[in-house]
C-alpha cells in the first residue's frame, strides 16, 4: 500500500518552503491593495470574503449613508418627536460602545465578566468629579476616565484573573456591587452619595459644544464606528489571536507560548478602560449621574447584548444593542416586563442558537501572492477553497453569503 489515502496533500514535502519569496515581497501596489482591502473590510466587515460582493457592498454603503443622515430623515418622518427617537438611538449607541468593550473580555477572551457597569461607573464618576470639582473640560477627562477604569480593573482583576468560568462571574458581580455601594456611601466625600453628581458640563470638540441629541448622535456614533474599527483590528492581530487561543484552550495556548494570564489581564483592562471612556460620554450626556445608573442589572443587560448578538462578533453586538436597548422603546407598554422577556429570550437562545444571532466567523487571512499562486496550482483545491483577495486564486468555489 503505497498510495496516500489521506487528503490530497501528498507526503511531507522536502523542506521546500525556504526558497519561496520570504523577504520584502511587498511592492507599492501590494501595499495599496492591502490598504484598500483593509478599508473595504472595515467599512463592511461582513463582506471581507475572497471577493467583496458588490451588491452587499452597495447595500452596506447605502445603509451607512442613510444612517449618516438619520437626524434629517427622522425629522421628515416623525417631525417633533425626532429628539426622542434620536435619544433612543444615542442610548443604543452608548450601549454598543459598552457592549463592544465587554465583547473583548467576554467574546474574544471568553472570560465571564458580569461586572462591566463598575468600570462604566468609574469612568463616569471620574469625568464628573474632574469636571465639577476641578473644572476640567469634558474631553480632557476622557483619557483620565479610561485610565482610571483601566487601573481599577488592573488592580481588581489581578488576583482573580486565573479564575475560570462561573467562579470569575461571581467575583465580577461582587465588583459591580462593591463599586455601587462605595458610590452610594459617598466614598472620599467625592461621589455625592445616593444623590449622585449634578451639573456636569457638555463636551466641546474644537470649540463646538455638543448639546442637542443631534450633536450627540454624531458624537456617539462616530465613537461607535471608531470602537468598531479599533476592536476589529485588535481582534485580527497577534493580541486578538492570543485571546482566541485562550478562549479555545487555555492549556494549549500556554504551551504554545502565550502568556495566558497576562493576556487575560490585558483584555480585561482594555475592555474596562473603554467602558470608562463610555462613562465620560454618558456623564456629559446625562449631566447628572447617580449610583442608580450603574446597578448590577446594567451589567446583566450588557452581558445579554453580547450573548444574544453573538460572543466575539462585533456585528452581533451591534444587533444585540438594537434589540435589547432599542426594541423595548417600541413596546413601551411592556417596559416592566422587559427583563422577563430577556430572560425568556436568553433561554430560548441558549437552546436553539447558543452561538448568538450573528455568531463570529472564522477569521480570514490574506496569503502572500507567492503562496496564493502555489495554491492555485495544487492538484485539487480544498472544499472551502482559498480566500486570498487576488484574482489569481479564483479556483476557490465561492461560499454563499
Amino acid at each position: 500500500m503505497t498510495q496516500n489515502n489521506g487528503p490530497p496533500n501528498g507526503p511531507p514535502a522536502s523542506a521546500p518552503a525556504k526558497d519561496l519569496a520570504r523577504g520584502p515581497a511587498l511592492n507599492q501596489t501590494n501595499q495599496v491593495n492591502h490598504l484598500a482591502n483593509n478599508l473595504a473590510n472595515n467599512l463592511a466587515p461582513e463582506l471581507n470574503g475572497s471577493k467583496t460582493n458588490p451588491i452587499l457592498a452597495i447595500l452596506t454603503g447605502l445603509g451607512l449613508l442613510i444612517f449618516a443622515f438619520l437626524p434629517m430623515i427622522l425629522a421628515a418622518l416623525v417631525g417633533r418627536s425626532t429628539p426622542y427617537w434620536l435619544d433612543v438611538i444615542n442610548t443604543v449607541g452608548l450601549y454598543t460602545i459598552l457592549a463592544l468593550s465587554l465583547n473583548v473580555i467576554l467574546g474574544h477572551a471568553g472570560m465571564f465578566h458580569m461586572g462591566h457597569a463598575a468600570f462604566f461607573a468609574i469612568g463616569a464618576y471620574s469625568t464628573a468629579i474632574l469636571n465639577l470639582t476641578y473644572g476640567w473640560s469634558i474631553m480632557a477627562t476622557m483619557p483620565v476616565a479610561a485610565l482610571a477604569a483601566g487601573l481599577v480593573a488592573l488592580i481588581l482583576a489581578w488576583p482573580i484573573i486565573h479564575l475560570r468560568g462561573d467562579y470569575l462571574l461571581i467575583v465580577t458581580i461582587g465588583i459591580v456591587e462593591i463599586v455601587r455601594i462605595a458610590l452610594t456611601n459617598n466614598i472620599f466625600g467625592l461621589t455625592g452619595g445616593s444623590n449622585g453628581l449634578v451639573g456636569i458640563a457638555r463636551p466641546s470638540l474644537f470649540g463646538f459644544r455638543i448639546t442637542s441629541p443631534k450633536h450627540f448622535f454624531y458624537f456617539i456614533w462616530i465613537v461607535v464606528g471608531l470602537t468598531f474599527l479599533l476592536f476589529h483590528w485588535l481582534e485580527n492581530s497577534r493580541f486578538g489571536r492570543a485571546l482566541k487561543f485562550i478562549k479555545e484552550d487555555t492549556v494549549a495556548a500556554e504551551n504554545m507560548g502565550v502568556n495566558t494570564s497576562r493576556y487575560k489581564l490585558m483584555a480585561f483592562v482594555v475592555g474596562a478602560a473603554w467602558a470608562g471612556l463610555a462613562g465620560t460620554i454618558f456623564a456629559s450626556r446625562m449631566r447628572t449621574i447617580s449610583p442608580e445608573s450603574f446597578v448590577f442589572s446594567e451589567s446583566v443587560l450588557l452581558f445579554t447584548i453580547v450573548i444574544l448578538g453573538g460572543k466575539g462578533s462585533q456585528k452581533g453586538v451591534l444587533l444585540g444593542s438594537f434589540l435589547v436597548i432599542g426594541l423595548p422603546e417600541f413596546f413601551r407598554g411592556f417596559e416592566d416586563k422587559r427583563l422577563l422577556v430577556f430572560g425568556a429570550a436568553l433561554v430560548v437562545m441558549m437552546i436553539f442558537r447558543p452561538q448568538g444571532l450573528l455568531p463570529s466567523k472564522q477569521a480570514r487571512y490574506k496569503l502572500p501572492p507567492a503562496w496564493a499562486d502555489r495554491l492555485a496550482h495544487l492538484p485539487k483545491p480544498e472544499a472551502n477553497g482559498s480566500n486570498g483577495p487576488g484574482p489569481q486564486n479564483s479556483v476557490a468555489p465561492k461560499k454563499g453569503p
Binding site: 518552503a17 479599533l230 494549549a252 504554545m256 490574506k366 503562496w371
Partner: protein
Amino acid sequence: MQILSLSSLTKTFGGLVAVAGVSCGVERGAVVGLIGPNGAGKTTVFNLITGSIKPDDGHIFFSGHSIRGLRPHRIVALGIARTFQTIRLFQGLSALENVLSGCHCRMRSGLVASLLRLPGQRREERLVIERAMEELDFVGLTGLWKATAGSLPYGDQRRLEIARALATEPKLLILDEPAGGMNEQETLELRELIKLIRKRDITVLLIEHDMGFVMSVCDQVLVMENGILIAQGSPQEIQNNPKVIEAYLGLDDDD
C-alpha cells in the same frame, strides 16, 4: 553536547510517586525515544520539562540554563515545543491560525500596535503568515490552510500539531505519542517527517508505544517503569536489555 539534562527529577501526586529521581540527558541533534509501560511516568516527565507541572525535587537544565519552575510560555520561548498525547489543537480555528499560535512567541507586536494597526504590525503579520504557511507546507498541509482544525482527519491533526510546535522555532521538540492512532501509511510518513525535522537541527524527544517506530527513528532510547529510569542506550542495547524485557514481558515464574 547535551541540550537537555534532568537530574534526580521527582514528582509525586498525593501518595503516588509518578517520577522518582529521574536523571538523564538528551544529546543535541539526536532523536530520543522515551518508552515504558502505561503509567510509567513518561508523560509526567514531559509535563515537568515543559513547565505544565512543577517538580517536587530535582533540576532541569536546557542549553545549560535551569528551567525549573518557569511557566510553560517562558519555556516555549526558550526553545522547547511540544505536542500532546490527546490532540489539543484549537479545534474551532483554521489550520493556519493554529500554526500562527506557535508563531506568537516569536512576534513582537503589542497591544497598541494591534489596536492601531501600525505599519510595523502589518509587516509582521504578513511575514508571520508566510512563516506559518512554510510550516504547514513542511508537514504537507498547504492545501488545507483554511480548513477548521477539528474537521481534519486524525493523522492530519497530528501533523498540524507538529507544524504548530515547529512554528515556535524550537531547539527541542517533544512529541507525546505522535504515531498514536495513526495507520501504517501515516506512521511511515511521520517517520519521514521526523527525519526532516532532524535535518533542521531540531532535537526530538518522543514518547511512543509503537516499538518498530521507536527502534527505527531513535538514536537513543530511555526506558521508564514505575517512575524510575530503568535503562538507556541505543535501540539495539535496549532490545537486549534484560530489565527492559522484564518490564515489558514480565518475569517468568520459575526464574
